[in-house]
């Protein structure tokens, strides 16, 4: 099967600091893949490179067979590749419902339709998705007044609202009440299964990522250290070294 996302030998340096060095990975359409690594190993930098936040120094990034490493953030987003942020980003001054209806696919916000009101279908979809992440009761509250975990869920729902093909999730469970994590994992799986959205997930919680991902890439010091199924990664001595320090 051809991969939906193919990263080949990507290099990104900030001055003298090489944040990503020859990183390659492939994510097949419909998969749930994980990206792990100690703090500072270059996971978020790689995400930023993929979504066009900064230009890469070398290498190639292909999404659905198309080279996207020269495109900018909004252009890549419009192709259906969206990311959520580690430090959650929502529109704080607007209500949850407003956050949702303005997150429709940008294709629906052309010259003519941008001056109209949101169609009833959008409102229904927004309410359904808020229900899906468990925020329906809060739909008329200012998004900025929600707790961090709730904002995280809202951001996730906003991403779904725009109907992406693939989501890059940067630590989706960080800051979420531990009792709610299992529910969130269930939702991620349903999103993947029902809507066919491919997921690439950065995660620090090992229990979560081993449970969720079918295949895991591990970065350390900006380089790809190991890859494989969760069981293999868990046993890989190089991964253990990277996390716990070399013996």
């Amino acid at each position: 099967m051809t991969p939906i996302l193919e990263v080949q030998r990507v290099r990104k340096a900030f001055g003298g600091l090489v944040a990503n060095k020859d990183v390659s990975l492939r994510v097949p359409a419909g998969g749930i893949f994980g990206l792990i690594g100690p703090n500072g190993s270059g996971k978020t930098t790689l995400f930023n490179s993929i979504v066009g936040h900064h230009p890469i120094d070398a290498g190639s990034i292909r999404f659905q067979g198309r080279e996207i490493s020269r495109l900018r953030v909004p252009e890549i987003a419009r192709l259906g590749l969206l990311r959520t942020f580690q430090q959650t980003r929502i529109y704080g001054g607007m209500t949850c419902l407003q956050n949702m209806v303005i997150s429709v696919s940008p294709a629906e916000l052309g010259w003519r339709s941008m001056f109209r009101r949101s169609p009833p279908g959008d409102l229904r979809k927004a309410e359904d998705l808020l229900e899906f992440v468990g925020l329906h009761a809060k739909r008329h509250l200012r998004a900025g007044d929600l707790s961090f975990g709730q904002q995280k869920l809202l951001e996730f729902a906003m991403a779904l609202m725009s109907g992406p093909r693939m989501l890059l999730l940067d630590e989706p469970t960080a800051g979420i009440n531990p009792t709610l994590i299992n529910g969130l994992l269930e939702r991620l799986r349903r999103v993947n299964r029902q809507f066919g959205i491919t997921l690439l997930v950065i995660e620090h919680n090992m229990r979560v990522i081993m449970d969720l991902a079918e295949y895991i890439y591990c970065l350390a010091h900006g380089e790809l250290l190991a890859e494989g199924k969760p069981e293999q990664i868990q046993k890989d001595p190089r991964v253990l070294d990277a996390y716990l320090g070399a013996r």
Binding site: V51, V73, P74, E75, A77, R78, L82, R83, F85, R89, I90, Y91, G92, G93, M94, Q98, V101, I102, S103, S105, P106, L109, S113, M114, F115, R116, R117, S118, G144, M158, A159, S162
Partner: protein, 320 residues
């Protein structure tokens, strides 16, 4: 619902008073004309500064462009007074929109303080250019043609023109904010990076917003040039230190990012300012300066914002 009916009654009352004002208080026609223009200033500034989070100090540029374009059409088109005036006002609006579209692509790439400072330069540069350009009268300015009607008819005519301007701007913006465009502007205000990450064409929306703002400012420029009867490049058309700053203050005073806030702010500011000019002559600018400090220190969220913080459940204002 108490709110909807009450609000409609209030709005009807305002409109009725506004229409009768030239008969009720004929001596204040020019003052009230300027009040309507001030309301347009505050509303159009708030479109960017309040709703979109882009604090522009250069909006007076569009006002001046509209004023000059209108005067040029009146001078050179060889039409009768009415035809020249209305064609000129229309041309002023178009010229202002063109200026906004042209400048927008460059200026709106700047964010935060950089945008504010960049726009500050626009008004100043435009004033200097107009002041040195013989075709538009250079430093001597321009004088629009005289109103042909009988004595006193002029004031009433321009009063209704200014009222029509405000009475068009307000409902148009209310309609605009109620649709998705309003949400797009708010999204840019709250987190522009997020909006881009969601694939929104932020540059397009920002430029459109500035063009809309410029359209109404261009219209008011044409009207005000004729109302005052004299166009000075730095003191009237590109008057950054008066009109340009007042736009910002009125919106902030009333409550930026709200529909009624700029209207309220414009009324309070204009009335206070006129009182200063009448009763504190000689010290009026000092008093105005102090008022500005008081506004910023005590009403950082504006009158409407302050009311909402105190009585959140009675949030007035209809719009967001």
């Amino acid at each position: 619902m108490r709110g909807a009916a009450g609000r409609r009654l209030l709005l009807g009352g305002i409109v009725a008073l506004a229409l009768l004002a030239p008969v009720l208080v004929p001596a204040y026609r020019n003052q009230l004309s300027l009040l309507w223009v001030m309301i347009v200033f505050a509303l159009t500034w708030d479109l960017l500064g309040g709703q979109m989070g882009y604090n522009s100090f250069g909006n007076v540029l569009f006002f001046g462009v509209g004023m000059y374009a209108c005067a040029l059409v009146q001078r050179d088109a060889g039409l009768g007074y009415q035809a020249g005036l209305f064609l000129g006002i229309g041309a002023g609006a178009l010229a202002a929109v063109a200026a906004a579209a042209l400048l927008g692509s460059g200026m709106l790439g700047l964010r935060g303080h950089y945008f504010a400072i960049g726009t500050l330069g626009l008004g100043i540069a435009a004033g200097e250019l107009a002041g040195g350009w013989d075709f538009v009268g250079a430093g001597g300015g321009m004088v629009p043609p005289l109103f042909p009607g009988e004595l006193g008819g002029r004031e009433t005519f321009f009063y209704y023109l200014c009222f029509a301007l405000a009475a068009t701007t307000f409902p148009f913006l209310r309609w605009l904010y109620a649709g998705r465009f309003g949400l797009l502007l708010n999204a840019i205000r709250d987190d522009e990076d997020k909006a881009e990450a969601m694939g929104l064409r932020t540059t397009r929306y920002k430029t459109a917003a500035w063009c809309i703002s410029a359209f109404f400012l261009g219209l008011s420029g044409g009207v005000v040039g004729n109302l005052l009867g004299f166009i000075d490049p730095r003191e009237v058309a590109f008057a950054g230190s008066t009109f340009g700053v007042w736009m910002v203050l009125m919106a902030i005073l009333g409550g930026k990012g709200t529909l009624w806030g700029p209207v309220l702010g414009a009324v309070v500011f204009h009335v206070t300012k006129e009182l200063f000019w009448t009763y504190l002559l000689g010290w009026q600018r000092v008093a105005l300066g102090l008022l500005i400090v008081v506004i910023v220190v005590f009403f950082p969220v504006g009158i409407l914002g302050w009311v909402r913080e105190r009585w959140p459940e009675r949030a007035p204002g209809g719009g967001r």
